[in-house]
């Protein structure tokens, strides 16, 4: 892609993100009706759940990119895997911070080791370990291969996060979208927030991927300099 096309894509994504986030905020805080039992506190749900879904999408991107890297050994897939792992951690940090803020007034505790919460916490820790593994290797090829294998294994926890509230008894609210538990009047706000979070993911993924491309360029220049000496 040429520099001009990349610049245009950046502008387009930036405009989409600004418009999408503004609309999502309006829908979540004003447009959506107030829930009967929890009141305005339920509005945390509109950002908490999309952050969780986007985080899982980021980890799924890491899983696919890691697999493709192991098959093709192309460094661009490794860069995509790294970018998506970092973003997955960011979105899961949002989930793990907003969840307890919602839980305290509703469950009267900040945290409980329920299957969903525990699996989510472990998933986040697994990808923190993924980042630490990358830091512990000097050789770029070995770093990429070892972290790709770890990324594929770490993703095993993601279905546990998704299905934990279906498989085991859990204090966490049941899956409202599939069971129809979410009131139809609340769905536009939820989908607006989900859309905005997915645009945010694409925007950040692109920026983080470009950052890794720049880092590879630095590695290439350093190699050239070493060869000249």
């Amino acid at each position: 892609m040429s520099g001009k096309a990349q610049y245009r894509l950046d502008i387009l994504l930036g405009i989409l993100l600004f418009a999408g986030m503004s609309f999502a905020l309006y829908m979540a805080l004003i447009g959506a009706p107030t829930e009967r039992t929890m009141g305005d506190l339920q509005r945390i749900f509109y950002f908490h759940v999309p952050a969780a879904i986007t985080g899982l999408a980021a980890f799924a991107t890491n899983f696919v990119s890691s697999l493709v890297f192991l098959l093709r050994k192309n460094r661009r897939w490794d860069a995509l895997a790294l970018a998506s792992a970092e973003l997955g951690i960011l979105f899961f940090c949002m989930v793990l911070v907003t969840g307890p803020i919602w839980a305290k007034p509703v469950w009267f505790v900040w945290w409980t080791w329920s299957p969903r919460l525990t699996a989510s916490f472990i998933l986040c820790l697994l990808y923190v370990a993924y980042m630490l593994i990358r830091k512990s290797y000097e050789d770029p090829e070995r770093k990429a291969s070892v972290s790709a294998v770890f990324g594929v294994i770490a993703f095993v926890d993601a279905p546990l996060v998704w299905f934990s509230i279906r498989w085991w008894r859990d204090i966490h609210p049941s899956p409202m979208l599939e069971t129809g538990g979410l009131d139809p009047s609340m769905r536009p706000a939820f989908y607006a927030c989900l859309g905005a979070f997915l645009i945010l993911f694409l925007y950040l993924l692109r920026r983080r991927f470009c950052l890794e491309t720049m880092r590879n360029k630095v590695d290439g220049l350093l190699l050239r300099l070493d060869e000249m000496r």
Binding site: L29, M38, G39, D40, L41, R43, I44, F47, H48, A51, L90, C93, M94, V97, T98, I101, W102, K104, P105, L200, L204, R207, R208, C210, L211, M214, R215, K217, V218, L221, L222, R224, L225, M228
Partner: protein
């Protein structure tokens, strides 16, 4: 704490995390850009 405070705290936490991440990406981009320029200059002089 009032329920509205929890709502405010949750949304603020999201924006703070996002702002910190954007700041981190921006500063890493800036450092790499400077590093690329520095290395290119060294290579140009050497060639």
């Amino acid at each position: 704490m009032d329920k509205m405070h929890y709502l405010f705290a949750a949304y603020m936490a999201i924006w703070i995390l996002l702002a910190l991440y954007l700041f981190s990406i921006h500063s890493r981009e800036r450092k790499l850009r400077e590093e690329i320029e520095r290395l290119k200059n060294i290579l140009d002089k050497a060639e």
